[in-house]
C-alpha cells in the first residue's frame, strides 16, 4: 500500500478528533467558568460542589475517568434501574470536558482573583451589586488573563483526545492503529500521525492566539 492511500481513513479520523476537541473544549470552558466562579462563591454549598468537582477530576487520571464513564457508569446505572449507557462520543466528550474543566476552573479562579482591589472599590462606590461587579467589571478583565493558560489547555485537550480510541471511537489515533495492524507499516503511519497532530495543534494555537487578541483588544488599542 502506498502511503497516500492511508490519507482518506486518517483524515476521517482527524475529523472525529477535531469534533471531539471542539465540543470538549467548549463544554470544558463552560465547566471551568461554572466551577471557577463557584469556588469563589459565598454560598458554602456551591463552593463545596465546585471544590469537590475540581479536586476529583484533577486528582484522577483522564483514562480512568473515561473508562469509568463508558464501562462502569452503565453497570452502576443498571444496579439502580436507570439506563446510563453513553454512546462512545458522549462518553469521550464528557470525560475530556470534565477533565479540562477542572484544570480550567483553577485558571478562571486565579484570573478573577488577580483583578485589582481598586476595581472592586470603584464598583462599590458606583453602587454596583456584587453580581454586576462580577459580570461587568471583574470577569471581562479576567478573561484576557486566562487566555494563555486556556490556549495550553486546549492543545493539551487535543492531544488527550487520542485516549478515546481506547473506547473504540474512530478518532485519528484509532484509525492509525487500524491501518498499522493491517499493514505493519509502523514508521510511516506513526510519522503521519505525529505530523497530523502537530498540524492540528498549530492551527488550534493560532485560533487561541487570535481569540486572545480579540478579548484583550482594549489592552492593546493604540492612541
Amino acid at each position: 500500500m502506498h502511503w497516500t492511500e492511508y490519507l482518506p481513513p486518517l483524515m476521517e479520523g482527524a475529523w472525529v478528533t477535531i469534533q471531539l476537541t471542539v465540543y470538549s473544549t467548549v463544554l470544558g470552558a463552560a465547566l471551568a467558568f461554572a466551577a471557577g466562579i463557584g469556588k469563589l462563591s459565598s454560598n458554602w454549598l456551591i463552593k463545596a460542589v465546585s471544590v469537590a468537582y475540581i479536586e476529583v477530576f484533577r486528582g484522577t487520571s483522564l483514562l480512568v475517568q473515561l473508562f469509568w464513564l463508558y464501562f462502569a457508569l452503565p453497570i452502576a446505572g443498571m444496579a439502580i434501574g436507570i439506563d446510563l449507557r453513553l454512546p462512545p462520543v458522549a462518553a469521550g466528550v464528557l470525560a475530556l470536558s470534565l477533565n479540562i474543566g477542572a484544570y480550567g476552573a483553577e485558571v478562571v479562579r486565579g484570573a478573577i482573583q488577580s483583578v485589582h482591589q481598586d476595581q472592586h472599590e470603584a464598583a462599590r462606590a458606583l453602587n454596583f451589586t456584587p453580581r454586576q461587579t462580577l459580570w461587568n467589571i471583574t470577569i471581562p478583565q479576567a478573561i484576557p488573563e486566562m487566555m494563555p493558560s486556556f490556549g495550553n489547555l486546549a492543545v493539551q485537550n487535543l492531544k488527550d483526545t487520542a485516549l478515546v480510541s481506547l473506547i473504540s471511537l474512530g478518532d485519528l489515533a484509532f484509525r492509525a492503529e487500524q491501518i498499522r495492524n493491517y499493514t505493519q507499516d509502523s514508521t510511516t503511519i506513526y510519522s503521519m500521525l505525529l505530523v497530523t497532530y502537530f498540524g492540528m495543534a498549530l492551527v488550534l494555537t493560532a485560533i487561541m492566539r487570535s481569540l486572545e487578541a480579540y478579548v484583550g483588544r482594549w489592552r492593546t488599542a493604540r492612541s
Binding site: 481598586d118 476595581q119 472599590e121 470603584a122 462599590r124 462606590a125 458606583l126 453602587n127 454596583f128 451589586t129 454586576q132 461587568n136 467589571i137 471581562p140 478583565q141 482594549w218 489592552r219 488599542a221 493604540r222 492612541s223
Partner: protein, 258 residues
Amino acid sequence: MTDDPIIKFDSVVKRFGDLTVLDELNFEVKKGEKVSIIGPSGSGKSTVLRILMTLEEINGGMVTVGGEPLWHEKAADGSLKPASEAHLRKMRVQLGMVFQQFNLFPHMTVLRNITEAPTKVLGLSKAEAKERAEELLELVGLADQASKYPHQLSGGQQQRVGIARALAMRPNVLLFDEPTSALDPELVGEVLNVIGKLAEEHDLTMLLVTHEMRFAREISDRVCFFDQGRIREEGAPEDLFTDPNEERTREFLKAVLD
C-alpha cells in the same frame, strides 16, 4: 449652603489591628460646603472618605449622612443595629468618590466608564446615560476622547474621566481622595481646574483630601488639619493658613509649604 450637617462623625473610632486611625473623631460638613482635609500621612484623612464611601467599616461611634445613620440602621424594635448591605446600597446613592489612582475600568471606553453605572445601577436608558455622559465630558474638557480606552489617556485626562464618572451618578456629596497625588506635576493643573470649576458652579458638597495647599486655600470654605486620628485644628482657609493657633499645624504647614 444651609446649616444642616449633611455629614456628621460622632466619636468615630477606626482601628486597623492595634493601630487607631480615627480616635473618637467628631466632624461635620454642612450641605453645599467645600471642605479640605490636610495633614500628615497616616493621620486618618483618607480613612474619613473611605468610611463615607462604605469602603471601610467603623469600630465605634456613629456616622450620619443626610441625617440618617450610615453604618447603622433601625431594627424592628427601634434600636440601632449594624447596617445591612441593602442599607449601605441605599445610602451610597448620596455619595460619589474620585480616587487617587483613578480606578477607571480599563476594559471600557471613556464613554462606557461614565454610562455603565447610570444604566446598570440607576436604570437610565442608554440614550439618557449617553447624553448625561457627553455633557459631563464637555464639562471636564474631554468631549473628543469618548471612544478611547483609559490607557490611551494621560493621567490628568484619566482623572478628569474619574470625576465625570462620579458626577454621572448625581451624588449630593463628592469625595476626592488625593485626586492629584498620582499625577505628574505638569498634569495637576488641569485636574485642579476642573475641581475648582465644580466648586464654583455647583452646590455639590465637596470633601477633598489633598496635599495641594494653595488649591485647598482657594476653593475651600473650611480647612481641617488632621493629626493622629483627630482634627487638631479647623477654620477658614485664610485663618488656618496664615495664622494657625496650634504649634502642630504651624510645623506641618511650614514643612509642606517650604
